[in-house]
């Protein structure tokens, strides 16, 4: 019976993982550079997203806990609902209307998390369930990504309140780099495409800075050992490998690995979304496969699928594989015999 615990001893030699609630808070803290950079480039709409989504998160979690007759304060204290809000808020187009965020958070907190039993029991990443639902249901709003603009854009409040006429929405929207490249058309070569200056001024630059800010947050999480390296490294590795192969095979139609890395949600996804431990594969070996799978799916969906970005779908698809990965990635326990090569295994017999 262990009397000592890493979080309560003050004289331990090695650093240890902070308690679960603090883990969540650390992840939130690490999103700050990314959110700040995004707001700098895309306006205060980013902040309003995050605040609204976080508020919805807490309110919905409390409401469902009340219905489930579970202690509210203890569960809210772990900050996991707050984190889901922050992550979904950060993925939505800036200044999304409040009802859109609300619908997304209902899907995330009520359906994807609490209906499955709350923290620790959800098979799918809640924020990505919310995001995927919104992307499928409200494509107009979800692709409404305004070009870089000043901190307080015109019509911000009307947008958030959802009172802006739909006709006016289009005038605000601009394409994301991934979107633009995807729809450049078969006949257009990549070099020609970039020569036309297809994006509003500074768009590519803004996306790169945002991506780097996410990377900075991710590095903090890695350094603090809040997340393990297994998922982000294998995800980015497989993404880079596949995009490099594609790019080398036909540079005029496949974007460069760097383009894939620094635009869209690649780095955000690698460090903040795919690393959600609850819905990820649990063993270290499983995490390697899980991460690599996400990276590969991102490339495949971006290149051949119908959506310009793919992190949400890739993560959800790999969430789906987790039970299988967990079954087949069990490490060999010390003292257990090595499976002789060629021994037939009964299906489902492992481990």
């Amino acid at each position: 019976m262990s009397m000592m615990h890493a979080s309560t001893v003050k004289d331990a030699a090695a650093t240890s993982l902070p308690p679960t609630a603090n883990l969540m808070r650390w992840v939130m803290a690490a999103t700050l550079p990314g959110i700040a950079t995004m707001s700098y480039f895309f306006g205060l709409g980013v902040i309003s997203n995050v605040v609204l989504a976080a508020a919805f998160g807490i309110a919905l979690e409390a409401a469902v806990l009340r219905l489930r007759m579970r202690p509210i304060r203890i569960a809210l204290n772990d900050s996991s609902a707050l984190l889901t809000g922050v992550l979904l808020g950060a993925s939505l187009p800036p200044a999304s209307p409040w009802w859109l965020i609300g619908v997304g958070m209902v899907a995330a907190i009520v359906v994807a998390k609490q209906l499955y039993g709350g923290l620790g029991h959800n098979p799918f990443n809640p924020a990505m369930v919310g995001y995927a639902l919104l992307l499928v249901s409200f494509p107009t709003y979800m692709t409404l990504w305004a070009p870089p603009q000043e901190l307080l854009p015109n019509g911000l409040w009307a947008q958030i309140a959802g009172t802006l006429p739909t006709a006016q929405l289009d005038s605000l929207s601009g394409a994301t780099p991934l979107d633009a490249f995807k729809h450049k058309g078969e006949a257009v070569l990549a070099s020609e495409f970039w020569a036309t200056n297809p994006l509003p001024d500074g768009t590519l630059n803004a996306w790169r800075w945002v991506a780097l800010a996410w990377l900075a947050g991710g590095v903090v999480l890695l350094a603090k050992r809040i997340i393990s390296w297994h998922i982000p490294i294998t995800m980015l590795g497989s993404l880079l490998l596949l995009t490099t192969l594609f790019h080398l095979s036909d540079p005029s139609h496949f974007a460069s690995p760097l383009f894939h890395l620094l635009t869209g949600a690649t780095l955000f996804g690698a460090f903040f979304i795919a690393t959600d431990p609850v819905s990820a594969a649990t063993s270290r070996r499983g995490k390697l496969i899980y991460g690599a799978g996400i990276g590969a799916l991102v490339v495949i969906i971006r290149t051949f699928g119908g959506y310009p970005d793919a992190v949400a779908f890739a993560v959800l698809l790999m969430n789906l594989c987790v039970p299988l990965l967990d079954l087949y990635s069990v490490p060999r326990t010390t003292g257990q015999p090595k499976a002789a090569p060629g021994t037939p295994r009964e299906p489902g017999e492992r481990p």
Partner: protein
């Protein structure tokens, strides 16, 4: 040889050994009264052989070994036996400390049986914590060839400094004790595994090494990491041998002993002194004279801690053993036994109560510290859901309960507590299943016996009838068609099942002499009964058959 081979995982908890390893090893004051539990070892409790009012000396046998795995018990002070209960013997001391020793034995020339018998009658058990009787452990050579004796001086748990102080003070004697075991078990090398946080003990060992004869001794200093003192972990680290799951180190030719045990062995053999005292670490923030003491077995914990300056106002709990694997004592009025290696009188601040448990988020931190490469997060899930087949598939029984997973869990889940509960639940089920199986076999045996008796009766009756018939010389009316072929087959099958039962019994008895064999013996007896019945029936049928044909 550097410790190049590693076990997976491990943690670095605060060591807090400074508190007890600064002062020299001293004798605790002679207690005026001792309470000696009859069970101070693994196996069966000892059987008392004294009664209230008997005068005893230090070293007098007061309880004898009972059954195969058990150990004798000796008076630890001289005086009068004041009470013999079902679980313990109490001795009131006379303050004289009169000893009764056995004759000295020269282990270099004495024969193996004599040394083994000395270990047996001296009540030596493993002093590291498990308390396995040493003479039984030494007899493993009857089944396995042992090549290496490992001296487990890693002492990886925080707080405990027993082995450290034992080696600082008696390195020579510990090594001589090791040589006794080495000779007894015919080992070819002795390896000492010690963590690098005990420099003084290491120096003492280095000085003592040249004198250790005749088996070569190797000192292997390993880096400090919990749980390197786990038997299997240490064997892996020192020798790069994995002890297979479900087997013992002896199965791979290794024997592990703790320095304290080796010292006790030497005292028993060289000085004829049975196990009546041991070294105990007294530590924790609630006592102001921490350190290691030679303590007579049966001394009250309260008395011992009070002599070490117990501050009862600050005391929150007393832990027996280390903070990772030890247990809190429910009461201080409990005796020091052969298994008490450390007593931590802790304040509340020293071991703050664990914060409330939150849900497992499958972060996998437990997996990365598990020294046997289990998936504690999955075991947790299945243990809570009581999915026993899954638990066994994920090798719950390979868990050494070191507590590394509980130590790091960010959700403060008491994982080891869950695993222990699950283990005992599964063990109970196994015992129940075995009992049911045994009852079934007993029933089958009874049926077989009745069948055999019936067949005998039949045979007798037939013989009688044949005798009566012969004078009349009338052909016996063949009442029913005799199925000779069927009976022959049944006889052959019965013969085969007897052979099979015999073989199984022999194999199991050889593999694991400790295991209870009644069930297998019962199955063999059943098979034999069946065979007898089949033989009788066959003989009878043959006779009937021939009598039908001959006339």
């Amino acid at each position: 040889m550097a410790s190049a081979f590693d076990f997976p995982g491990g943690i670095y908890p605060p060591e807090r050994k400074q508190r007890s390893n600064q002062s020299a090893l001293i004798e605790a004051p002679l207690p005026s009264r001792v309470t000696l539990p009859l069970q101070q070892h693994s196996g069966q409790p000892a059987r008392p052989c004294v009664s209230a009012g008997d005068a005893v000396n230090v070293g007098s046998v007061i309880a004898k070994r009972e059954g195969m795995i058990s150990s004798a018990l000796h008076a630890s002070i001289s005086g009068t036996v004041s009470e013999v209960s079902a679980t313990q013997i109490t001795i009131q001391g006379d303050g004289q400390d009169t000893w009764q020793r056995l004759p000295s034995l020269d282990w270099r020339v004495a024969d193996t049986a004599a040394v083994l018998e000395r270990l047996n009658e001296s009540g030596i058990v493993g002093l590291g914590g498990a308390g396995f009787p040493t003479h039984i452990k030494a007899r493993v050579v009857e089944q396995h060839a042992i090549h290496t004796l490992v001296i487990n001086a890693a002492e990886c748990e925080p707080y405990i400094t027993v082995d450290d102080l034992t080696l600082r003070h008696s390195a020579n004697e510990v090594l001589e004790g090791a040589q006794i075991i080495a000779k007894l078990c015919g080992v070819q090398q002795i390896v000492i595994g010690i963590e690098d946080n005990k420099p003084e003990a290491i120096t003492a060992l280095q000085h003592a090494l040249p004198d250790s004869q005749p088996v070569p001794v190797e000192l292997s200093v390993i880096s400090t990491r919990y749980p390197s003192g786990g038997e299997r972990q240490l064997i892996k680290k020192l020798l790069d041998i994995n002890v297979p799951s479900g087997e013992l180190p002896a199965d791979v030719g290794v024997l592990c002993h703790n320095p304290g045990t080796l010292l006790a062995i030497l005292h028993a053999v060289r000085d004829g002194q049975p196990l009546v005292s041991r070294i105990v670490t007294l530590t924790g923030e609630s006592i102001n004279q921490p350190g290691n003491r030679w303590v007579r077995l049966g001394t009250s914990v309260r008395e011992l801690l009070e002599q070490a300056g117990l501050n009862i106002a600050e005391l929150h709990q007393v832990i027996q053993g280390g903070p990772m694997m030890g247990t809190p004592l429910p009461t201080l009025d409990t005796p020091v036994t052969k298994l008490t290696n450390c007593l931590i009188a802790a304040t509340r601040e020293e071991f703050p109560p664990a914060p409330a448990e939150s849900p497992c988020i499958r972060c996998g931190e437990c997996e990365s510290v598990c020294p046997v490469a289990l998936l504690p997060q999955q075991l947790h899930w299945y243990a809570r859901a009581q999915e026993d087949t899954k638990l066994e598939r994920y090798h719950l029984f390979d868990c050494i309960e070191c507590g590394a997973c509980s130590y790091v869990c960010p959700s403060h889940i008491p994982l080891v507590v869950d695993y222990r509960e699950a283990k005992s639940r599964i063990r109970l089920q196994r015992i129940e299943a075995a009992k049911a199986e045994h009852a079934k076999h007993r029933f089958e045996h009874r049926q077989a016996r009745l069948a055999r008796e019936e067949a005998e009766k039949q045979a007798r009756r037939q013989a009688r009838q044949a005798q009566q018939r012969r004078p009349a010389n009338i052909a016996a009316p063949s009442s029913e068609k005799v199925d000779l072929r069927g009976l022959r087959i049944a006889h052959a099958a019965a013969k085969a099942s007897v052979k099979k039962a015999e073989k199984t019994l022999a194999r199991v008895a050889q593999e694991d002499p400790k295991q209870s064999l009644d069930d297998l013996e019962m199955q063999l007896a059943t098979a034999q009964e069946n065979l007898k019945a089949a033989e009788l029936q066959l003989a009878q049928a043959r006779e009937q058959h021939s009598s039908e044909e001959s006339p």
